[in-house]
Symmetry: C2
Subunit: 456 residues, 2 copies
């Protein structure tokens, strides 16, 4: 690869402005009020691919939002890289906690602030600009295909069908994804594992109507009190999850590998200070890095019931609800864990209440072995552009379709993300560093070059 | 008393229509959006008192809503009954669960359906009509004074000051209140005890912002998980409250009195069937009646935190909240219990979170001895109008100002309510039986007669 940094230096302002235009579109897939905007984002992405030099670009229909497709096939005998990303974004609430409107991007301290800046538009767009660079300078070393979907934030529910129906079109040798973080720009890393996900919604019903808590309190089960007990019982005093069978298939990582992981740079005081917490909290016997990478976890993502407005109301409510999710590690199965949770939760409910458990979308855990050519191609690319070797890191987040890709297309994914944990994805004031954005555009062509050489 | 039933029969349609007009006014004291309506209700009540024959009616200003005052003093040497009631009502939400709009009263199956029908406008208005009857037929046997406040549903926060400043004007021999229920119209009862109330709001904070539950889950305390554990720990496996010192001052009711209470008519299957629950739930070693009358209780009235909208969001939230209240029995002190709760809750919070506990209004427990003349006057009145003796019952609800009356005015209260537990007060579709309304108007004059004779 020649003149990569020069090309980026010459065009970076345009790159940033184009990304800002994409970020203005509120493509919130979870909320049907943003249907038109999400469709607009799909077409906008297709157009950028076309302008970057991709061919056969189209919006492929699904039962939900379309998959944006594009390709540049220069020689069928060369390797093919399949790039995946998504154009939909998380909801922005609570809006009042944003310092600037989530869909009016601003640049502050070298970072672009907007919902979707890091997850995933900023990262996805690095690949579009890398394609442009390689095509315009006639340096594209292998074939490339793009699938950019619009439902990642709601579980990619229609992607499986799309993949099954397009196996021929999607034939490739590796999948490349930028939707994860690095440890830091001083310690570049490649994500070698993703947690799985099991997500359920529970509803606990006590009496068939809201009651006066004086007349009935203490005599009739309060579904909020009961739900609290049930949630509390899901973890023990060592913060281990108590669902029977939950840990049966968990891969116990070897002492050697844990020793390697322990070398990952991590400053506990910094970590606590950033979050303004006095103490961390997790499964006994494991470090923070281990808890977020190789151990399964359980979180209540939302809870509500009774009177939550201003002032006091002495009600014994009829219902209480919670959204509960578990992050899974190899070799747990999302479907099995979801069933285990449902059965267990229903079984621990006392007779004084009724419980309904509704599963949401899930996803399987995933691992990239570090000895495959594609991983080595990525590691070499990072060494070139960062001037130091990368560190393999198993992440806490989930990208459910990665396991789906392996199952349906037989392909591993290289998780080459340039974000940072401080990007506040899924939170107010999400942002993406311009340095990270440009460094990704610089690194990706070297991955293409290395992969086309290593892969035979 | 003569021709009581005849008077009621002749004027009952007008009585009901007047009550309906009062019920149309959305006098929601908890919500400042209804300020004008609540003031309108105050004036409407004053007007009805004036028309019923009361003198010196006025809206007495307070730091909040006014106290409506009225009196008929026929002879200073006669006993004086002080009637208390309230013209404010509970909020009506959730509105979608009402079969008819909460402030558009309808009559169905002999019941008036509206917010405030039983709590407290329907019951308060019985006294206005009883006054009318006695004045118009020249049968008022003693003096009467009315104080009808507008803040009972928000803790009567300004009533204490009003009472202190008006001790002379409010001089009386007994207080009469209709804001409670009977066991049934077949088993009339008089409420001889009210529980106290301690109400607090808690806020648990983990990280200083919402986090991605994959990146941070399992490593950082989730305030919802922590709050659930803390709430769960407040009661043990026997449903006893675990706050240290909580039961220290609880009156242990004698075995004899418990045996008497056990004779109260109560059908457990009916009770469960009405609420559509398979099982009741409460403190081990006590019956349902005992749990709601002589035992203190704890209920979470509201809980919220994290993402509670449509669909799934994998957030580890910054904060979780709950509204928690305790019903108290003699001789627990609301102030002491509130302090015990606050100290305990703060002490059980792990270092990984911060907890803020904010007390709301409270109230002391209260008991009317059944051997005082006023109680006997009420019991005799019920025997006259119902044709059977009344049963003394300690209620689960609280009317905080009753203990305040005793403290500031040195007066006991007779809790002569004509409601039913099925009236659904504090719930959607609140209603009040026309039979109950008219029976109350019939019974009150006999109480006046008996009291003026018994009290020397």
């Amino acid at each position: 690869m020649k003149n990569v940094k020069e090309y980026i230096e010459e065009h970076k302002d345009r790159f940033i402005n184009e990304l800002i235009e994409l970020l203005k579109i509120p493509s919130i897939s979870a909320d049907s009020a943003y249907k038109k905007d999400t469709m607009e984002a799909a077409e906008a992405v297709r157009k950028t691919l076309e302008l970057a030099g991709a061919e056969n670009t189209e919006l492929c229909p699904t039962n939900g939002y379309p998959v944006v497709y594009g390709e540049k096939v220069i020689n069928p005998s060369l390797p093919t890289i399949l790039v995946y990303g998504h154009y939909d974004v998380q909801p922005a609430d609570p809006i009042e906690l944003w310092d600037s409107p989530p869909f009016e991007p601003v640049i502050k301290d070298g970072k672009i602030y907007a919902r979707g800046a890091a997850d995933d538009k900023g990262q996805m767009y690095m690949h579009v600009k890398a394609l442009e660079m390689m095509v315009k300078t006639n340096q594209l070393p292998c074939n490339v295909k793009f699938i950019i979907e619009g439902e990642e934030e709601v579980g990619s529910v229609n992607l499986g069908a799309f993949i099954k129906e397009n196996k021929d079109r999607l034939k490739a040798d590796i999948i490349l994804i930028s939707d994860t973080s690095m440890l830091s720009m001083e310690h570049p890393s490649i994500t070698t594992g993703l947690k799985g996900l099991s997500y359920l919604e529970v509803e606990v019903t006590g009496p068939n109507r809201d009651l006066h808590s004086g007349v009935y309190g203490g005599a009739v089960a309060n579904p909020i009190n009961i739900l609290s007990k049930m949630i509390a019982s899901l973890t023990d005093e060592n913060n281990r999850i108590t669902i029977p069978g939950f840990y049966d298939k968990v891969e116990e990582v070897s002492a050697e590998e844990r020793a390697e992981m322990a070398k990952t740079p991590f400053d506990l005081e910094d970590y606590k200070d950033h979050l303004k917490i006095k103490d961390i909290h997790g499964e006994k016997g494991y470090s923070t890095i281990e808890r977020t990478s190789i151990r399964p976890t359980l979180d209540v993502n939302g809870i509500w019931g009774g009177y939550i407005g201003e002032g006091a109301k002495t009600v014994l409510p009829s219902k209480a609800y919670a959204k509960i999710s578990m992050r899974l590690v190899p070799h747990q199965s999302s479907e099995e864990i979801t069933a285990l949770f449902k059965n267990h939760f229903e079984s621990i409910a006392p007779d004084s209440v009724k419980v309904v458990v509704k599963p949401h979308h899930g996803g399987e855990p995933y691992v990239t072995p570090i000895d495959i050519p594609a991983y080595q191609a990525a590691a070499k690319a990072i060494e070139t552009t960062f001037g130091k070797p990368s560190i393999p890191v198993r992440a806490g987040g989930s990208i459910p379709i990665v396991a789906l890709f392996e199952k349906e297309l037989g392909l591993k994914s290289i998780l080459l993300g340039f974000g940072l944990n401080s990007d506040a994805i899924h939170s107010p004031n999400e942002h993406y560093g311009i340095f990270n954005f440009l460094k990704g555009i610089e690194t990706i062509p070297y991955f293409f070059e290395n992969f086309s050489q290593l892969k035979d």
